[in-house]
Symmetry: C2
């Protein structure tokens, strides 16, 4: 095998470390701002690429990410591997069986929500290509087909995440949205494969393979085979693998080998590798024999390592400032949003859903994400689109994803459930409660609560104690949750303390409470208190959880123990 020099290797590892570190950092920052992590990951790459780092420190940028020699080739190979593995996991998230069980309404939403932006996109690209690209546009159907497809695919992972956040994922409403997005995804990928088939014949680097008709036939045959025979074969072989190979290595190796083999096949027939990995993921994720634990291992490693690497690598290729064209961004944004919102809204209302729900469905399906960016990248590489249109697609994907969660919350008038761990703070933590009685413990915590909320300690204590005397708040297992409702409190707060000797809060099991949470909520809103109480009760229903927290040194370790479960 040809080999890399030591210097090349050092640069490759450095580039990977910088990309991964920055992507994870920005991804976490995005999550802090209640945005999908992928937004931060893309932004990290934009900062590290020609857009910012290359502008400010061109030599440093070229040193870490050289553009000639073996290093960029290897990084290109690794990011291709990364996106292929990401598509395996994206495919595994597709719940085909349950999507197919949904009714006609779902199908209508999926198809209309797709056809309208598709049609709009095609018309603009075919008749007014100047709105999208300054330079010459490739002839034939490939340009309008690409634009139409790129504007009509929804982002299933983003949509699923938002529904999870809003606790809607397991409702019927959520099922309709996810199923419509699933069908949209599959149809979108079929179109995607067709675009790639055309790229093979139309692009500047024509694939030395098959004529377009053959590509279409083989693609359809592959899809049909994977979703029937492939699904069946995987389902049948899983028990055998788990029974007769090392666990979980047998299943992990099988998943990766299968995804890579399918990727090689689809790349070979002239559509992209990621399509094969995605379809294998759909078939693989569908079997009921796949254990949650194995799914998690695959999902976590790939989502947190490979996906960030890939998304950050996008920004390395394009200068997002010099290629930013406001008019192109606006045109793309208007077609994409108007088409998707309109199509879904119409389908929803005609399918008998309320106007508000139909609008919410539209906003949900409007989220775009990884897929249009990946598609755009391939089109850019094949010379179908220019940098400006690529940048506009990325900006559109990022903006619609950001908007989806926010608009759904508003339209459905629904907020994210409160996670009690989010309300804990070092300031509101008493590491060593000295009180011997429940009344004294409440008084001790009320003082902390006063400094946190600005309410007088006496009022907090009085209101909490009043309730405590009516209904004791000791839970079985060593936790107590006294609470006070305060008139005019802006938002809920929690103060809590550890008591080594324990305080009697009249728990049903008769045991003293070692962990006491004093919950402070606005008087006129019963919702937060319910969510906090049920969250605490759920958390401490697991055996040994209180002891684990009592062993922690300091607030950060407690928060770590609450967050990093399992």
């Amino acid at each position: 095998m040809e080999s890399l020099s030591g210097h090349d290797l050092a640069i490759i590892f450095l580039a990977l470390a910088v990309l991964l570190g920055a992507a994870r950092l920005f991804g976490e920052a995005a999550k802090r701002l209640h945005q999908p992590a992928v937004l931060g990951e893309i932004l990290a790459g934009v900062f590290l690429g020609p857009t910012l780092l290359g502008r400010l420190f061109p030599e440093l940028q070229a040193g870490i990410f050289p553009s000639t020699g073996g290093v960029p080739l290897v990084l290109n190979g690794i990011s291709s591997l990364a996106v292929t593995l990401f598509m395996l996991v994206a495919g595994m998230e597709v719940d085909l069986s349950s999507a197919l069980r949904q009714g006609k309404a779902t199908l209508h939403i999926a198809l209309w929500g797709m056809m309208l932006p598709f049609g709009l996109g095609w018309i603009v690209a075919d008749f007014f290509p100047g709105l999208l690209m300054k330079g010459p546009v490739p002839g034939g159907v490939v340009f309008p087909l690409f634009v139409a497809t790129a504007l009509s695919i929804s982002a299933l992972p983003v949509i699923a995440k938002i529904l999870k956040d809003l606790a809607l994922i397991k409702t019927d409403f959520g099922a309709v949205i996810v199923s419509a997005a699933t069908i949209n995804d599959l149809v979108g990928w079929m179109l995607f494969a067709m675009v790639l088939g055309f790229v093979g014949t139309a692009g500047p680097t024509p694939f030395d393979g098959f004529p377009i008709l053959w590509v279409v036939v083989m693609t359809l045959a592959f899809v049909a085979a994977m979703l029937t025979l492939g699904r069946w074969a995987i389902h049948r072989s899983m028990p055998f693998l788990q029974a007769h190979t090392s666990w979980p290595g047998g299943v992990l190796g099988f998943a990766l080998t299968g995804a890579l083999a399918c990727a090689a096949f689809t790349e070979y027939i002239g559509i992209h590798a990621i399509f094969g990995a995605f379809l294998f993921g759909v078939a693989f994720g569908d079997t009921s024999h796949l254990r949650e634990r194995t799914r998690d291992t695959l999902d976590q490693f790939i989502s947190f390592i490979f996906a960030p690497l890939f998304f950050a690598s996008i920004g390395l290729r394009v200068d997002f400032i010099s290629n930013f064209s406001l008019s192109t961004v606006l045109v793309v944004l208007v077609i994409a949003v108007a088409g998707k919102l309109g199509g879904c809204y119409l389908a929803g209302v005609l399918g008998g859903m309320g106007r508000r729900e139909s609008l919410a469905i539209g906003f949900a399906q409007n989220a775009r994400g990884a897929m249009e960016i990946i598609l755009g990248l391939l089109a850019l590489h094949a010379g179908i689109i220019d940098e400006s249109l690529f940048v506009a697609l990325v900006v559109m994907a990022m903006l619609t994803s950001m908007a989806a969660g926010w608009t759904m919350e508003r339209v459905l008038n629904r907020a994210k459930p409160i996670q009690f761990a989010d309300l804990l703070s070092a300031k509101g933590y008493a590491p060593d409660l000295s009180a011997g009685t429940n009344e004294a413990a409440i008084a001790e915590l009320a003082k902390l609560g006063a400094s946190l909320t600005g309410f007088p300690a006496e009022e907090i204590q009085g209101r909490a104690w009043e309730r405590e005397e009516l209904v004791p708040t000791g839970l079985p297992g060593g936790v107590a949750i006294p609470h006070a409702r305060l008139p005019g409190l802006a938002k809920p707060a929690i103060v809590f303390g550890l008591s080594a000797q324990g305080v009697d809060f009249n728990a049903p099991d008769g045991l003293p409470s070692h962990l006491v949470f004093l919950i402070l909520t606005p008087e006129d809103d019963p919702r937060p208190q319910l969510e906090i109480v049920s969250g605490i009760a759920r958390e401490f229903s697991r055996a040994g959880r209180v002891e684990e927290l009592a062993r922690c040194k300091g607030f950060t370790e407690i928060l770590a123990a609450l967050r990093a479960h399992g």
Copy 2:
């Protein structure tokens, strides 16, 4: 970035799929034969490389694994990444804190077990280089230093695995062996880094970096910093990461970013990338804040995906037949084994251990594995050794690893504990017990037992029932374990059945048994029965386990459920 063509990508994915699939397959086969998986993985590569596939189907081999162009470069980059990640996990397995707590005997074993093969290797390489290489030998200390180092490093992961298999890992004896191997590992890597420093100045592709003195100083400074400051910083930042970033993404991203950054640094100063990743792994694996779950995710994904990819890729580089020299293999084997066995035995006996234990320690430390192969690969690449010596090193590593488990079992007169799941078979499984009483259920299973063992059904039933009447064998939770000891039975056997309605086996909780295991063991050996009974009791102590198995369709699914836990 420079890009790969579609054809290149298809080949890369195909090559990865073939490598991974074959490596996992051969790895599983090795495990079946009670050998470390790494043996099978290396063998898979030998079969796919010039040794076998290249000999039989040279065009096919060159098609999947081309030797020129971008593909081999990318595969080289990916296998470098794979071995670097593997070293992260290998480092995480090093339990530095507990190794340092061990006494002087451990230190003696580690040092003498290293110094003797090191000294022997040096003498042979320095004074009789013709025994090892036919051609010219590089001048200076680099050749003897390499040979001495490669012959003296033990394989910590192989040793830990064997001790786990023999249930010795948590004994004092096991701790001594593992700790000695740990110290050996660390000292070995220091030597390794020095060799690489010399390679930088002596090899045909001199690193454009630092003079050798600087390399040594920077290496020592790096080791010291990682094992003190780095360890402390990682330990301190883990609770923060777990408390304030998404779980487990924060910690996973941190581990990979850190390992890649350290890899880039050590590659940059002129020792290899894997050394940095290994040391980061040692520091990272040492913190008590690292959760078992995160460790597992890293370990499983890397051990079952990246490690096989790397080990299989070794065989692609060298023709193991045309470069096989029996005399070189024998010389390497004799020095390695005599030095390691002699050193450890002497250190053990002088340190006050029994002769038998000392010999067992010697056989354990004698296992070589990944490290000498990796080291050999680098030396081969740098032109310090030729293909024949490399092949001899690989063969030596494989043979000593294979021998270690076998010899330890014999010397310590200790067998692997029986795993009851290994004794289950489709032939010995009754999917639907019709019996209504425990006596009838035993009779039903005894018939199965008869066809399995050749003993008359009446005898099995009679002996099992005799014991059942004395002591009822129903366990709480719905499992019963009647047993019969049979005179002259060659090896233990289990037959089992599912009963939908349940059979009363007088369980202490009064519940009927739905899962009945009839255990057949040789009359004169009480050990198997104990191990089987305690294994079954442990397995079904988890709530819901019996119900889970009762839901399974067919024997393979039951075995899968027993094997794939979590």
